[in-house]
C-alpha cells in the first residue's frame, strides 16, 4: 500500500468515525425515558433534577450537546456514567482488557482449528477427510456463536461438567493483579494456577466465538491451498524430492494465507461483535456484558462510550489486516 493510499484510507476512517458518532448520539437522544428520573428517588425536588440535568449537560439543545460531547470525546473524555457514577473512560478501559483477552483467545483457537482443518483437507484433498472438513465447515458456519455458547453450556457445563460457565475467574480466589489483563498477567507472574482457572472460565465462551471463524478460515484457506498446490512452483518442489506434506507447509501455506487474510480480518470484527451476547451468556465481566447493562439502565454516556470504542476496534482491526497484508507480501513491501 502506498503512502497516498494509506492517507486516503485514514481519512475515510475518520469520516466513518464521525458517522458512527452521529448515529450513536442521535439514537441515544431519541430514546424515550428520562435517565435522570431513573437515577434519583421519588423524593427529589425539581431543583435537584434541574441541577443534575445541568451537570450532565442535558439542559442544552441537542446539536450543542453533540458538539460539546464530540469535543470531550476527541480529548478522550466520554463523560460520567449515570448508573455507575464513574468516569466512562475509566469504566470502559477497566472492562476492555477482559474482552480483548477473550477475543484474541478466540482468534487464536479459530486460527489453530481452522488452519489445521484446512491443511488436513488440502493434504488429503478429494478424500473422505476433505468431505468431513466440508461438513464441519458447513455446520459451524451456519450456526452462530450464541447457539454454540448455549450448546457448550449444556455439553461441558452440565452433561460433562468440566468447564466453568459463569464469570471470568473463581470469585473466592485471591488475585494479585495490578492490570486488568488477568490472563497475560497470570502468565507473566508465573501464577499458572490462576492461568488455569482463567482459561477454565474463558475456554467455553472463546470456543463459541471461535467456531464460526474457524469454519471461515478453514474454508477459505483450504480453497486457497488447493489452488496453490497446483502452481508450477509447488510441482517443482515435488520434483526436488520433497513430500506432499512438506510442499504444503513450506511452499504453499504462506502464499495461500495472504489472500485469505482480508476475509479473516472482516470475520474477526464479527467475532468481536459477538462478544456482546456471548459475554452475557457466560456472565463474563467484559465490555459486552457492560454494554447490555448500560442499555437496560439507559446509561447514555456509557452506551456512547462503549459503542464508539467498538467502532474504534473494528476499524483498527481492518487497518491492522491491511498492514499485515503488506508485511506478508514481498511484492508490495518492495514495490
Amino acid at each position: 500500500m502506498r503512502l497516498s493510499a494509506l492517507i486516503i484510507r485514514l481519512i475515510s476512517l475518520v469520516v466513518t468515525f464521525f458517522g458512527v458518532a452521529v448515529v450513536v448520539f442521535v439514537l441515544v437522544r431519541v430514546a424515550p425515558g428520562d435517565p435522570i428520573a431513573m437515577m434519583i428517588g421519588p423524593g427529589a425536588s425539581p431543583q435537584d433534577i434541574a441541577d443534575l440535568r445541568a451537570l450532565y449537560g442535558l439542559d442544552k439543545s441537542i446539536p450543542l450537546q453533540f458538539l460539546i460531547w464530540l469535543g470531550h470525546v476527541v480529548r478522550g473524555d466520554f463523560g460520567t456514567s449515570i448508573s455507575l457514577r464513574e468516569s466512562v473512560t475509566e469504566v470502559v478501559f477497566g472492562r476492555l482488557p477482559a474482552t480483548l483477552e477473550l477475543a484474541f483467545l478466540a482468534l487464536a483457537i479459530a486460527v489453530v482449528i481452522g488452519g489445521f482443518m484446512a491443511i488436513l483437507a488440502a493434504r488429503w484433498r478429494g478424500t473422505a477427510t476433505e468431505a468431513g472438513v466440508d461438513l464441519f465447515n458447513g455446520i459451524a458456519l451456519s450456526v452462530p456463536d450464541f447457539l454454540w455458547g448455549l450448546t457448550f453450556i449444556l455439553l461441558f457445563g452440565v452433561a460433562i461438567p468440566i468447564f466453568d460457565i459463569s464469570g471470568r475467574v473463581t470469585p473466592t480466589l485471591e488475585l494479585p493483579f495490578v492490570t486488568n489483563f488477568f490472563l497475560i498477567e497470570s502468565i507473566v507472574r508465573l501464577r499458572f494456577d490462576l492461568t488455569l482457572d482463567l482459561l477454565g472460565h474463558m475456554l467455553m465462551p472463546a470456543m463459541a466465538l471461535a467456531l464460526p471463524l474457524a469454519a471461515v478460515i478453514s474454508q477459505i484457506l483450504k480453497t486457497s491451498l488447493k489452488e496453490v498446490m497446483h502452481q508450477d512452483y509447488a510441482l517443482i518442489a515435488r520434483t526436488k524430492g520433497f513430500s506432499e506434506t512438506y510442499v504444503l507447509l513450506h511452499e504453499a501455506l504462506r502464499n495461500a494465507v495472504t489472500p485469505s487474510l482480508t476475509v479473516i480480518g472482516v470475520q474477526f470484527t464479527f467475532l468481536i461483535g459477538g462478544t456482546v451476547i456471548v459475554e452475557r451468556l457466560f456472565s463474563y465481566e467484559g465490555l459486552g456484558n457492560l454494554a447490555i447493562d448500560a442499555v437496560i439502565n439507559r446509561d447514555l454516556p456509557l452506551i456512547q462510550g462503549i459503542v464508539l470504542l467498538f467502532a474504534v476496534i473494528f476499524v483498527g482491526v481492518n487497518l491492522a489486516v491491511d498492514l499485515c497484508y503488506v508485511a506478508l507480501n514481498p511484492k508490495l513491501r518492495h514495490g
Partner: protein, 302 residues
C-alpha cells in the same frame, strides 16, 4: 555408448475415468549419460506426461497402466513413495517451461536454490550456499550475491530461467528434463538460454531429455530424437537420420510445418489428412496388439 541412465519401457498412461483414451501408448525412451535426447511433438501429444511420469507428478486424474521408468536401473514404480521421491530428488532435476510461475513468489532465491541441497542431499548450509552461488556464476548471472537475496518478482524472465537452470544443475543430477524451457521467453532471450543449457549439459555430462515442439531446436542441440504423436512414439532415431531421411510420414509433415527462412514457400504446410488417417490406423493397430497382450497375460494368470 555407455548404459542409458534413464530408461522408459513401454509406458502406457490413461485417464482414470476417460474410458479407453490413452495419453501414452507403450512409449519407450532411453537416454545415456552425456546424451541429449529430443522429444518432439505437437501440444497434446503427451510430451509433458513423459516428463511428469519420470518425476512421479502425474495429475491425479491419470494412471499408469503398464511399463516402467528406470533411473540407473531401478524401476521407480516398484519403490515406495518415499524411496521414489528420494531417488528422483537426488538423481533428476526439471527445468520448467514458464520461469514466471516456477519460482515461489514469497521466498528468496537463496532458499529456493538451497532447499534440495540441504534437505535432500544433506549438504551443510555453507556448502549449499557456496555451490548455489557458484552455479549462479556459471549461468552468467552478473551479481550472484544480489540475485541470491532477491525475490522472484525482482528478476526478469530470462534471469529467472537462468536461476532455474542453475538450481537444476546445482543438485548435480545425472538426468535433467527440460520441458520446453524457452517457449515462454522472449525470442532474443531464447537463443541465449538454449546455448546455456547445451553448454551446461556438456560441462556436467548430464543426460538431458529435451522436450520441445520445435524441430529447429532439436537440430541444434540433440543427438537422438523421439517423435511423439497422440501418445505414441512414431519415430526414434539419431538427429542426422531424422533430418536427412525422415522415415515416418508424420515426421515429414511435422518438418513441413516448421518455418524455414531459407525456403518460405514450403513453410507451415498443414499435416495432410491422409497422414492423419494413416496415423490413426497405426495407433489402432498397436492398441489392438496391446489389448491382446493383456488378454493373453490375464489368461496366463487365470
Amino acid at each position: 555408448m555407455s548404459a542409458p541412465f534413464l530408461k522408459i519401457d513401454r509406458l502406457s498412461v490413461r485417464l482414470r475415468r476417460g474410458g479407453e483414451g490413452r495419453l501414452l501408448r507403450q512409449a519407450s525412451i532411453a537416454v545415456a549419460p552425456g546424451e541429449v535426447h529430443g522429444l518432439v511433438g505437437e501440444s497434446g501429444a503427451g510430451k509433458s506426461m513423459i516428463g511428469r511420469a519420470i518425476f512421479g507428478i502425474l495429475p491425479r486424474a491419470v494412471e499408469v497402466i503398464e511399463g516402467a521408468v528406470r533411473l540407473g536401473g531401478t524401476d521407480l514404480f516398484t519403490l515406495s513413495d518415499r524411496e521414489r521421491r528420494r531417488l528422483v530428488g537426488v538423481n533428476a532435476a526439471l527445468i520448467p517451461q514458464d520461469p514466471l510461475t516456477a519460482l515461489n513468489p514469497s521466498k528468496r532465491i537463496e532458499a529456493q536454490m538451497t532447499d534440495r541441497l540441504t534437505r535432500i542431499l544433506g549438504l551443510s548450509a555453507a556448502e549449499a550456499k557456496a555451490r548455489a552461488l557458484g552455479l549462479l556464476e556459471e549461468v552468467q548471472i552478473r551479481e550472484p550475491a544480489r540475485v541470491f537475496r532477491s525475490y522472484p518478482h525482482e528478476l526478469s524472465g530470462g534471469m529467472r530461467q537462468r536461476v532455474l537452470i542453475a538450481s537444476a544443475f546445482a543438485a548435480e543430477p545425472r538426468l535433467i528434463v527440460a520441458d520446453e524451457p524457452t517457449t515462454a521467453l522472449d525470442v532474443t532471450v531464447q537463443k541465449q538460454i538454449l546455448k546455456l543449457i547445451a553448454e551446461m549439459q556438456r560441462r556436467h555430462g548430464t543426460a538431458l531429455l529435451f522436450v520441445t515442439h520445435n524441430l529447429g531446436v532439436v537440430a541444434k542441440i540433440c543427438q537422438r530424437v523421439s517423435v511423439l504423436y497422440a501418445g505414441k512414439i512414431v519415430e526414434q532415431t539419431d538427429v542426422a537420420t531424422l533430418f536427412n531421411a525422415p522415415a515416418h510420414a508424420y515426421t515429414r509433415a511435422l518438418m513441413a510445418a516448421t518455418p524455414r527462412y531459407d525456403r518460405p514457400e514450403e513453410s507451415l504446410a498443414p499435416v495432410r489428412p491422409e497422414v492423419i488417417e494413416a496415423l490413426s490406423q497405426e495407433i489402432a493397430q498397436t492398441d489392438n496388439i496391446w489389448a491382446e497382450a493383456r488378454l493373453a497375460a490375464a489368461g496366463r494368470r487365470a
